[in-house]
Amino acid sequence: MLRHATFRSLRSAHLCSVRAYARATSLGIDSSVENNLQTETNRASKTLQKFWNDVSVKECDTHLTVMLDNKPLRTPLGNALSVSKDRKLLALLLQNEWSSMSSLAIKPHSLPITSIVSRCIDLEYTAKPGSDPELVAKIGGDRSVISESLLRYLDTDTLMCLSPRAEYEGALRAAQDELYLPVISQVEKFLSRFAQDPVKLQILDADVHGLKGNLQDKNTKEAALAYLNSLSMWDFAVFEKAVLTTKSFLCGLLLLHNKSQNPSSDMKVTMEKIAQFATLETIYQVERWGEVEDTHDVDKRDVRRNINAASIVAFKE
């Protein structure tokens, strides 16, 4: 089930190129024979039943581990689900997530925080030198491959595709100019630190460029890659989640920057604001055409819960 979440994020990262691959390895709930690791998450994903009575957090020197009936909860790769001591609230939330589950069946969408934290832990585990390449392939844990696919979001970033002024009587474009342009210039400044030349982000303006695709230049890409390489593996996994949720490289960067030790005041935004950035066009569509049931209302919560979950995992005391 947790595997489901991580594979899904991988799948959407690769979009169409992964079709054949997706069929080759089993996605979704991993009930395949080859995954018979005796982990709690695996057991839960196979039986879809709640089998524990008590969820607790065990404290050791450096880490807090979530325990089900005195056995550590494990990630898809079999690592203990534990967080460092400067993330005490996170441990409490993980505990809450597992103890407040209704006993009927475990649904993949009911454990967003566990899913991100497992991804963080497993990525950290596979990033260690000398780790099994098969395990790396299993969770899609090759950092350079993930970076490559995340960089593609920089070309088609939600915050850098501006709609034509003729739409919505120019209201949408005005809002985009007001919200996006300052962010873009701030991020340019931020990324310039990672490059020799100052970074200039290429914006796709529908009035000027029409339907043409958008590509960032080499300097920008190198700077963005240098930024990604500067992240710890934990933050990298959070970044991945944020980008896949918002479909925006800039939103991921904003989120991480706001949760870093010393965020600059120019780039200060709330998580709600990031969610608005990511869904600005939908907001105007809903205003004009009305809300579609089972789509707009669900998506709205989905984006926010994922952004908030990512920010919670990123936070460090």
Partner: protein, 165 residues
Amino acid sequence: MASKVELLSSYKQLVRALVKSNRRSKIVQQLEDNKKQIALLTYRKISLIRQCQDPDPQEKLKAMMNLNGLNKKIDNLKQDDPSKSRKLYFYDKSNELKKLIMEDRSAETSTIIKKLEHLRDIAGFLQNQMEFEQLVERYNPGLKMDQEEKVKRTAAKVGLQVPDI
């Protein structure tokens, strides 16, 4: 000082959010527990009924008494409505949470502001997660149905009825 007050108020908000988001699952868990208890008691009841046929009148009387007690317990469990329980208004780990939030290793304003934002994020997460789950359940009623109900409805779709057993 002002920040202490703010921390306290966001702690309260957080507890409220936790209580609200845990409410539904707590009810379901309690119902499941009750069901298990009832099954267990019914099993014991059956074995007691067997004992009632004991030829020794004293044994028989004792078994009868026990049986009455059991029946009462089962009835109580069946009538129990977990949604009215007072337990639903409390968060079990509130003491721990309060300690985590209120302990101040540094009195720096920037740290406290960050912490407040963090607490707000958590509350936002809890609320959106709860609403998301409610919506998913509302639009996909099949998720909550048990197998029996699903079979019944599938049969009804093609004009058949599942026989009562």
